[in-house]
Symmetry: C2
Subunit: 322 residues, 2 copies
């Protein structure tokens, strides 16, 4: 998607210009390393687009955009500790390359750095920006805690699961967009509509991610197909299957969860999910959130041409599986 390149170029340039001190090197080397691991930089792009939507120049919200990206990276450093993840973007995580204490502490510093960057966003908007930023930061932590709690529960409902992904990942997309809209002097109503757009695109994207784990084209998918199935991870696919299964299918699902042959397990689960209609049910839910997002964007009274970049980004994120 060629049009994104001018956004990412600006963002990468700003990230490269962040000056971390040299000492203590065990505190700052991990941050230099981690901030340069790359990624799609989707959140700061949303902030810049949120400002442009209301007719302002994207450079006006660049500090807020980088603050959101820096905050996101802070959460990744701490999440990687909690998830005991050895790799992030095919490179060692901070706690693996250095150690856990360094990952905790350098994460903490990166969080403060996000606030410092946000403070560069001068003007009367600062209190409104800080308010949504703080609220979102807390929600992201709540989502991560729910995710950790779910590991030890067998009674997670579909609505709880959707609430978890909303908090853990989707609210930050809404926040990124709304911060852009605040800087673009949008009305409260338009800010809210744009937030809803971001949040529901985020939920749709996460559901798509759950589906892709099992149904992606192995050649195009970056990771092992069926990884969630092999590790018995709770996903919407899995929860929908449990909900829709008849008694016999429930027994089959329970048996498959302890299956040791990974290839057999993935193939059989895929077959069973198809019989149950779990994939279709997830797609219905995904489409509902996508439609909700588009409807929110539609309600913002602005020329269609202003909305084109956001619609293109949403379509880029939703790869249209099936």
């Amino acid at each position: 998607m060629h049009a994104l390149e001018s956004y990412t170029a600006l963002i990468e340039q700003e990230i490269a210009s962040i000056q971390f001190p040299h000492t203590p090197s065990n505190l700052y080397d991990p941050l230099r390393y981690f901030m340069n691991l790359g990624g799609k930089r989707m959140r700061p792009i949303l902030t810049l687009m949120g400002t442009e939507l209301f007719g302002k120049n994207r450079t006006e919200s660049i500090h807020a955009a980088i603050a959101v990206e820096v905050f996101h990276n802070f959460t990744l450093i701490h999440d990687d500790i909690m998830d005991e993840a050895p790799l992030r973007r095919n490179m060692e995580t901070v706690h693996t390359r250095w150690n856990q204490n360094i990952a905790i502490l350098s994460g903490d510093v990166l969080f403060v750095k996000a606030y410092q960057l946000l403070m560069l966003q001068q003007g009367t908007h600062l209190p409104a920006l800080l308010e949504i930023f703080n609220r979102t930061a807390i929600e992201v932590c709540e989502g991560q805690q729910m995710d950790m709690d779910f590991e030890f529960r067998n009674d997670v409902s579909i609505s709880e699961y959707v609430e978890m992904i909303r908090l853990k990942t989707s609210v930050l997309l809404g926040c990124a967009l709304e911060m852009g809209a605040i800087i673009g002097n949008a009305s409260k109503e338009d800010r809210h509509l744009l937030y809803e757009f971001g949040q529901h695109i985020g939920i749709a994207f996460q559901i798509q991610d759950d589906i892709l784990d099992l149904y992606a084209d192995p050649e195009k998918f970056g990771k092992q197909v069926g990884g969630d199935v092999i590790s018995n991870k709770k996903t919407l696919l899995n929860l929908k299957a449990m909900e829709l299964a008849n008694s016999a299918q429930k027994i089959q699902l329970a048996e498959l969860s302890s299956e040791q042959d990974a290839v057999f397990k993935v193939a059989q689960t895929k077959e069973l999910y198809s019989q149950i209609g779990a994939k279709e049910s997830c797609e219905v839910e995904m489409q509902a959130h996508y439609n909700f997002a588009m409807n929110a964007l539609d309600q913002i009274q602005l020329p269609e041409v202003n909305k084109k970049p956001l619609i293109a980004l949403a379509d880029y994120l939703m790869v249209r599986i099936s």
Copy 2:
């Protein structure tokens, strides 16, 4: 010190009124628990006193004061993980009572809570408050990292050690006072002088803490006398002893560091430190910081009566050992 009670009463009342949500309980129960473990609440008292010094009512800086205390508690939760500390104020630490991941995440939430509380401090002062708060938060992390790095180094200089305690603990006292002064509409010069007062009282207090580890009255001292000596912890006493020791004394110090009999080790080290003059050297350094602090306070052009609570607090902190 009776006069402190009215400050702590106000602070405890405000802390008790902080509303944490009920769910996820694994995120918020630790915070309710930890914020109620008590403590001297010295930092928020400093903020309130900083405001009163300039003739304003202490209630004007109450939100900033609580923000500083909440931030301090966040650092304690994360430090306890890094230090593998089982107890804090004779109660289980968060990572011991719950687990490490919960301690990381609930600490993160508490940090955001500090910003939310600071945001309640309405008015034109917010950018100045956020600026010193952010800078101090980063410095505290730098100090903790230096402390962790020192464990693996044998060439720590006295100036590096003093810089470590300045960052790890003393800058937050300066910050607490300066935030109070900002809300009290103090001039930039007076704000800076009050910051220096807090910072150097903090350094003097930490040096006193190092001395008390070995020279406190066991009946009055809350913890095991000689704990730092037994664990070979780097303290100013230890670094001064190494600096001032002659060749024979250096050998004795090295031998004592691997001594297994704790009672013998503590008694012999104390005797050796006295011969070397390490305690006196620490006291000279402590007194210099105390004098520097008092001199800074002296330069603030305000009636002596305004300064009395701060001088009384400083004297309360410095228990006048020897």
